[in-house]
């Protein structure tokens, strides 16, 4: 696919207390960013079940953004550290599946950081645009078993 016209689809997981509010704030302040990201609200980044990320990837997302409160500022004291651990684990898992780990990004954004969140989203969209479409087999309509994803690992990953 031509990367010039390629419009990536990105699923973003946000925390109700910080990054979702940052997204709201970006809106209230009319800060602009490209429309390629679709956000999901959770109560905490600690709610991030790794299967959510795999589900989104398998479902056709080209990149996944995980956002949460800055370390030490979690509304639930320390759950964002758990998100951080899962993020690192997920990156390795993705690599083993032949998917470039850069397709998963973690951003800390406080409720006050609307501008920062918008900048990070913009930047991530461009990173994914440069990586090109993930083109996961599920997109073709038939669901191919995950194992066949390994084939591309040898080609350096998508």
């Amino acid at each position: 696919m031509n990367t010039d016209t390629f419009e990536p689809v990105i699923i973003g997981f946000t925390c109700n207390w910080c990054s979702y509010r940052a997204a709201d704030l970006a809106g209230t302040a009319r800060v602009k960013y490209p429309p390629n990201v679709r956000l999901i609200r959770m109560m905490c980044s600690g709610r991030l079940d790794p299967t959510f990320v795999l589900k989104a990837i398998a479902g056709g997302a080209d990149g996944i953004l995980i956002t949460g409160c800055h370390p030490g500022e979690c509304h639930y004291l320390e759950q964002n550290y758990k998100a951080l651990r899962r993020f690192q684990l997920l990156r390795r898992t993705l690599a083993q599946m032949g998917i470039r780990p850069e397709r998963l990004k973690l951003v800390w954004a406080s409720a006050a950081e609307g501008v920062k969140l918008a900048e990070e989203i913009t930047c991530f969209i461009e990173e994914i645009r440069a990586l090109g479409p993930l083109d996961w087999p599920a997109l073709t309509g038939e669901r191919i078993p995950v194992a066949s994803g390994f084939i591309s690992a040898e080609e350096g990953g998508r």
């Binding site: 390629f6 419009e7 689809v9 699923i11 207390w17 910080c18 979702y20 509010r21 997204a23 709201d24 970006a26 809106g27 209230t28 009319r30 800060v31 602009k32 960013y33 490209p34 429309p35 679709r38 956000l39 999901i40 609200r41 959770m42 109560m43 905490c44 600690g46 709610r47 991030l48 079940d49 790794p50 299967t51 959510f52 589900k55 989104a56 479902g59 056709g60 997302a61 409160c69 030490g72 500022e73 509304h75 639930y76 004291l77 320390e78 759950q79 758990k82 899962r86 406080s110 409720a111 006050a112 950081e113 918008a118 997109l139 309509g141």
Partner: protein
């Protein structure tokens, strides 16, 4: 939680209504709302959507009636509203559903304003994204369950932290209404910054005259427990039922016996520079009350500086105390209290002008901070209110007051500290009145909003104070021109006249800005609050909910929320009190039923979840080898839900099914025939 076990919800069994809001032109200006509604009605028909409408203002009563009517006439079982942020109107639409007989939690509000129309410019792309967002909401709402809010009792006691004017006002309002208050203050006395001032703008009321009676009321109020020289060290629980641990530092004074006569302070041989109350301009003793009108009247012994504690001998205070009230054997005490609500009013710190090195504070003797000047001009201060230079005797012949020190400056703080212009005018008036000196105010813009402020500015102008518009480049003692010897020279570009000026003066006063307390972040964490980028505590809504916070049951008042003057601090103290009183009088509060629950039949007893919960809400039943969540302690973060390897824990309101379905919806995997995303 559904009462009867029926077939799991599915598109076949649900009747979903979709409502797309124009929000005037806020959404409709960028998103083709009509197309989104039509699309949802057509393409999501197989997903259970039976009606899809667009309307100018969904939140208006007409918009809400639209939903209610459809619920009643079409028998809707789920509702999706695509409009603004759930933080704004989730409650509105849930309530509307409730009125029509649909469980409020079967309604989902998805944001196409804050997250689409306000942040995107391409109309087609914004319309497409809105469709995906609606689709995500539809898929999610299929899996919603009817829920009942958790109703918890509200403990009638309120904890107020910080005894400045904001905290004092809040405490008095609640106590006067007949409810118990515990007021915790870190210093030996309440009063805060206001206790340091001589006069207050714009009326020039004597600060002590208006503050002291309030302090006395707090000290003697039957409903207020005053804990000074104390700090909160731990906060557990949630709205209605906080358990708070307070550390009471030892006073080394038996307050039952002490009469506040002050003899100990007279006899104590150890003098220490008083950096807090006297802003470093004067001394206090090792045993001290910060100021004569202190409440409570009992002194404290400052252990670090007490000769007895440091060297083992002295005990002068003990010898002279007529009531034997000195007690060196006291230890710090920890006490645990219960409170239903908490008001934080911990105020501000003054910006340290040493950071603006070119203004010479700390290097040039006769450069003063604003707080130092407050003490200098205070008739109860170190000079008895005589405005003199650092030598303690010479009155200044010319004084320069520099505005915006550390404020409205990219190098320090971008924000305006609000009070400094008025405080600069107050100083100008006091200097003129008491010394007759020539006074210059160096300002960027004069900001004299609010009642009677601009009139005060006019008055100071008429009194002959000179105003130079421009940001001061430097204060120096390096004389270059005749008449500059022994003076401080203020180098400034006069932007109205368009010339550079060097103005020699004897005294410079820096209108330092206000900053969040040095420990504001730690205190915020203790109470589970968030700070703005500048460090001020964030209110729930900047316009409509200025004293509530995102943490239920915790309110903020005064400068802890942002720089403000005394009238605004008092208003916020009263407002926070009113919010708390409203709740106490209800006796109960309904909370979002977002909680985790363990399905015992699935739990393998691995205990992985046990240590993950920051609130210790998960207990393990060794006899049955299963874990259980205590709903009273669970805050609903969902971390355990995500971690359970057996998938035994589910989170109400944010279940796996709901989130996975929303992902499918957002990616439009729900559409048949299959869409490729790019084609949409």
């Amino acid at each position: 939680m559904s009462t009867e076990k029926t077939t799991p919800p599915s598109p076949e069994t649900e009747k979903i209504g979709v409502y797309v809001c124009h929000c005037g032109s806020n959404i409709a200006g960028i998103v083709d709302v009509q197309e989104v509604a039509e699309w949802a009605g057509e393409r999501l028909k197989e997903r259970g959507v039976v009606v899809a409408r667009d309307y100018k203002f969904m939140c208006s009563s007409l918009g809400q009636e639209l939903i209610e009517k459809d619920i009643q006439e079409k028998g809707l079982t789920r509702v999706v509203v695509a409009a603004c942020s759930p933080h704004l109107h989730e409650n509105t639409f849930r309530t509307a559903c409730g009125r029509a007989g649909l469980n409020p939690y079967l309604c989902e509000l998805v944001s196409i304003r804050e997250q689409v129309s306000w942040v995107h410019t391409d109309k087609d792309a914004a319309t497409t994204k809105s469709k995906a967002v609606v689709s995500g909401g539809v898929e999610r709402v299929i899996h919603h369950e009817p829920l009942e809010p958790l109703v918890v009792p509200i403990h009638p006691t309120t904890l107020v932290v910080g005894g400045g004017i904001a905290g004092i006002q809040a405490a008095l309002e609640i106590a006067d209404a007949g409810f118990p208050v515990i007021l915790v203050e870190r210093e030996p006395s309440i009063g805060g910054h206001m206790a340091q001032f001589d006069k207050t703008f714009p009326t020039l009321d004597c600060s002590a005259c208006i503050l002291t009676p309030r302090m006395v009321s707090v000290g003697s109020h039957p409903n207020i427990t005053l804990l000074t020289w104390s700090e909160v060290t731990r906060v557990d629980g949630y709205v209605g039922n906080f358990t708070v641990t307070i550390r009471k530092k030892p006073r080394y004074i038996n307050t039952q016996l002490c009469t506040g006569c002050g003899i100990c302070q007279e006899k104590c041989p150890k003098k220490i520079i008083d950096d807090v109350y006297e802003a470093g301009l004067s001394y206090r003793k090792a045993v001290y009350t910060p100021f004569p009108q202190a409440v409570p009247k009992y002194p404290v012994i400052d252990r670090e500086n007490c000769i007895f504690f440091q060297k083992g001998t002295c005990r002068a205070c003990e010898k002279f105390c007529p009531t034997n009230a000195i007690d060196f054997s006291q230890n710090e005490e920890y006490m645990t209290i219960e409170a239903g609500n908490i008001i934080l009013a911990t105020g501000y710190d003054l910006f340290d002008p040493r950071r603006v090195t070119q203004y010479g504070y700390g290097r040039l003797a006769n450069v003063f901070t604003s707080l130092e000047f407050e003490r200098l001009s205070n008739s109860a201060g170190p000079t008895n209110g005589n405005i003199v230079l650092r030598d303690g005797v010479t009155p200044p012949a010319a004084v320069g007051i520099i505005h915006c020190v550390g404020s409205r400056d990219r190098n320090y703080n971008n924000y305006c500290s609000v009070i400094c212009c008025m405080q600069g005018l107050k100083f100008a008036h006091l200097v003129k009145e008491r010394t007759g000196a020539t006074v210059y105010n160096f300002y960027i813009d004069m900001r004299t909003a609010y009642k009677a402020y601009d009139e005060f500015y006019q008055r100071v102008l008429e009194e002959g104070t000179l105003f130079v518009r421009g940001k001061v480049a430097e204060v120096t003692d390096a004389a270059r021109l005749p008449g500059e010897d022994g003076k401080l020279i203020i180098q400034v570009e006069d932007t109205l006249a368009g010339i550079q000026r060097r103005i020699p003066v004897d005294m410079v006063i820096l209108s330092s800005g206000l900053e969040p307390r040095h420990d504001a972040k730690q205190v915020a964490q203790l109470f589970g609050l968030s700070c703005s980028a500048d460090g001020w505590y964030i209110e729930k809504h900047p316009k409509l909910d200025p004293v509530a916070t995102m943490t239920e049951g915790i309110f903020i008042a005064g400068c802890v929320q942002g720089p403000k003057d005394i009238p605004s601090s008092v208003s916020q103290g009263a407002a926070a009190a009113a919010r708390v009183l409203g709740r106490i009088q209800q006796e109960h509060i309904a909370l979002e039923p977002i909680r985790a629950t363990v399905d015992e039949t699935k739990c393998s007893g691995c205990r992985i979840c046990n240590n993950l919960c920051p609130f210790n809400a998960i207990l393990f039943h060794a006899d049955r080898n299963v874990s259980e969540v205590n709903p009273a302690l669970c805050q609903g973060c969902g971390t355990c839900v995500a971690a359970c390897p057996a998938g035994a824990i589910s989170g109400t309101g944010f279940s796996n099914e709901q989130i996975l379905a929303q992902i499918e919806g957002l990616l439009l995997l729900n559409l048949t025939p299959k869409y490729t995303l790019a084609a949409l």
